[in-house]
Symmetry: C2
Subunit: 398 residues, 2 copies
């Protein structure tokens, strides 16, 4: 029996699906240990502790001379003091270890060399002046990075500085994207009449890579129930998430929802949202399977509203910056009451702030996404916003 | 003669360096043509035009039946009309081309099938109803993407949809990063007394990759004038930008600035900024060479303030999102008058907005960068800000 296309809110759908996956243990992180220099951009599974102190010794913080502060007590601007090498001072550059007998550094700008061996100073140095103590930046054993933190370039540098050679990181989820539909053809081939170039794979590839997942693009599968089932079943064996695009609507050849129900369980079919209404969220063998609607903007919305939060919950950290700004609507925006609407908008800067323009184009119009600066979300409780309303626009990340 | 460490403002330094590079023609983009599926994240050098229309035919926008609108005129809720297959209708699914005789689609939800061949409708269809016209999204020949636009996943999809197989993109600048200093050792080797692990290469690698440049990491070079000169000279032959780290200060073995002047021209040595003061900005053989100060936070600031704007000017588009937010200073912040200061801060959310905390730690303290949420910039004209001041914090991108 084909599961009935329901009316579920976006929040309910996310919650129901995540709960089922949580019960199945899917959010438990799988981890691996990798050399830190290979770990740029990866997410830490465990905190990292300094294997050695930084700096590793007492070092000079300046180019100049190392001295004993006590020897310099009497130096004044009107009463210069002369110091002799090597009894009273030795030359040091920034980062040099401080010779043990000394406890302060006077920087080169404050020195008056009378000759190679004799220098005149005009102020007393205090103990520790221009000196970096051992472990000033990181003490040995100190936690330098927390779990769930992404390894930024400076985080990698901190690992290397503290002698950390390998780090335990979260494994990237393997994702299989299966394009289905007898009308689809390879976009680089000639386009026979009645055929559609398959282009959503580019969205899957681009976003999954950006969100630290590992996408595999399945070859095109025709509208053949057995072939689609075989592709999903094969996907379950060596992937952590399967995206079936599309076949989730009410067409004669929409098998995806039925197949997910046959192989596992459909938790949600149909969400009160636009674009993206006929999404199917399922769990098969403890893993998430999504029937993703086929219109490109719908595919994009499903990626943003289900796949991104899924991966963020798995990783335990944000995978895409979220920034918003306020603007004034240049025209009335319509939305169906009871449905959350993702409106693609352009922002026009003016002296009084941003004007927000709705982009025309349905879920089929990739152009409405490409030309957008951001998304205006109209929640279920609103049937739209009047012209002149001040609204918040979620900026797109390029 | 060693060029004199000057006092130049950050804005002056950027302008002087960029002008010299502009005169040398360095900002002229080098371009290459690549298959669009290999071009994710690349920046377009030329606008892209649709090689074919999208949709490529008149297609159905719904699952349902294709009809002639004129035949349905009399249908009303209280006066249903029956249509016969194949004379009056044919079944179509979303995306199917509309058979030539028909001009409208009635969606499956609005149909009452009496049997396989006869359907009852309760409302008239208008011509073009639920039909996607040819070229609705993109007309053949239309500009779909502008030059200087990065290829987002949806931009790649739009190219594929419109039959664009290859795109002309901006070549990634090749950057050589040369770590110099006899005190430096490979961070993965045992650390002998008085030695420092070389960790800035991780910053160069991470940020240059993020900013669409192609970094090469040179092996460690000791403080040997001839060896450093040879490394720079070799770098000039097959790279577009050379970063020498460090040797730009006044230490006994600071050769970098002298060498840049010998091989080309030092435009700026010393900028009124902290961290990063002893930077050297030069041009050698028409290409930029930077003497980058060695403290990790100074290296980071120079990357952000000189290398990022350089690459953005070359590409003609932003390479890193810039977002800021306002907060209230939790304590007084000091800064030298006449010097721009980059203060690392943490943000503490409160009911009244964000509290801004300065992180202690000098330019040597990588920890001050790792633990920061953002940067508070104190301009040259200010000697700091009082506790309670409302300040703007530039958020770090993770």
């Amino acid at each position: 029996m084909k599961p009935y296309l329901q009316k579920t809110t976006l929040a309910q759908a996310q919650q129901r699906w995540f709960e089922a996956l949580s019960e199945a243990g899917w959010f438990k992180q799988v981890t691996e240990r990798v050399p830190v220099q290979m770990a740029h951009g990866r997410v830490l599974a465990l905190p990292v502790r300094a294997a050695r102190a930084v700096p590793h010794a007492v070092t000079s913080a300046m180019d100049g001379i190392a001295v004993r502060a006590v020897d310099t007590r009497t130096a004044r601007l009107d009463l210069p003091l002369t110091l002799k090498h090597p009894k009273d001072f030795v030359r040091v550059d920034t980062g040099d270890p401080l010779p043990e007998a000394f406890d302060a550094v006077i920087k080169v700008e404050d020195l008056n060399f009378l000759d190679d061996q004799i220098v005149e100073i005009h102020a007393a140095a205090f103990p520790g002046q221009s000196v970096r103590p051992l472990g000033e930046d990181y003490e040995q054993g100190a936690i330098i990075l927390q779990a769930q933190q992404p390894l930024t370039p400076e985080a990698v540098a901190a690992c290397l500085a503290t002698g950390v050679e390998t780090v335990e990181v979260v494994c990237k989820p393997k994702v299989l994207a299966i394009p289905t539909g007898s009308e689809l053809v390879d976009p680089l081939q000639a386009l026979p009449p009645g055929k559609t170039p398959e282009t959503n794979s580019a969205l899957f590839q681009g976003y999954l890579n950006r969100w630290k997942a590992e996408p595999t693009l399945h070859p095109l599968v025709p509208d053949d129930e057995a072939a689609i089932q075989a592709a999903i079943e094969q996907g379950m064996t060596d992937h952590d998430l399967v995206l079936v695009n599309a076949g989730t609507s009410k067409g004669r050849e929409d098998f995806t929802t039925t197949l997910i129900e046959r192989l596992g369980k459909v938790l949600v079919h149909g969400v009160s949202m636009h674009p993206g209404h006929p999404v199917a969220l399922g769990v098969v063998e403890g893993k998430p399977v999504v029937g993703v609607p086929g219109y490109p903007v719908a595919t994009w919305v499903i990626l943003q509203q289900f796949v991104l939060p899924l991966l963020e919950r798995y990783y335990g950290c944000p995978l895409q910056p979220r920034h918003a700004l306020k603007g004034t609507l240049a025209q009335k925006v319509y939305s169906s009451l009871g449905e959350i609407e993702f409106v693609r908008v352009r922002l026009e800067p003016t002296d009084e702030g941003y004007l927000v323009h709705q982009l025309t184009g349905k879920a089929s119009a990739l152009s409405s996404l490409i030309n957008a600066h951001g998304i205006l979300v109209v929640p279920e409780a609103f049937s739209g916003y009047p012209k002149g309303a001040v609204v918040e626009v979620q900026l797109l990340t390029r």
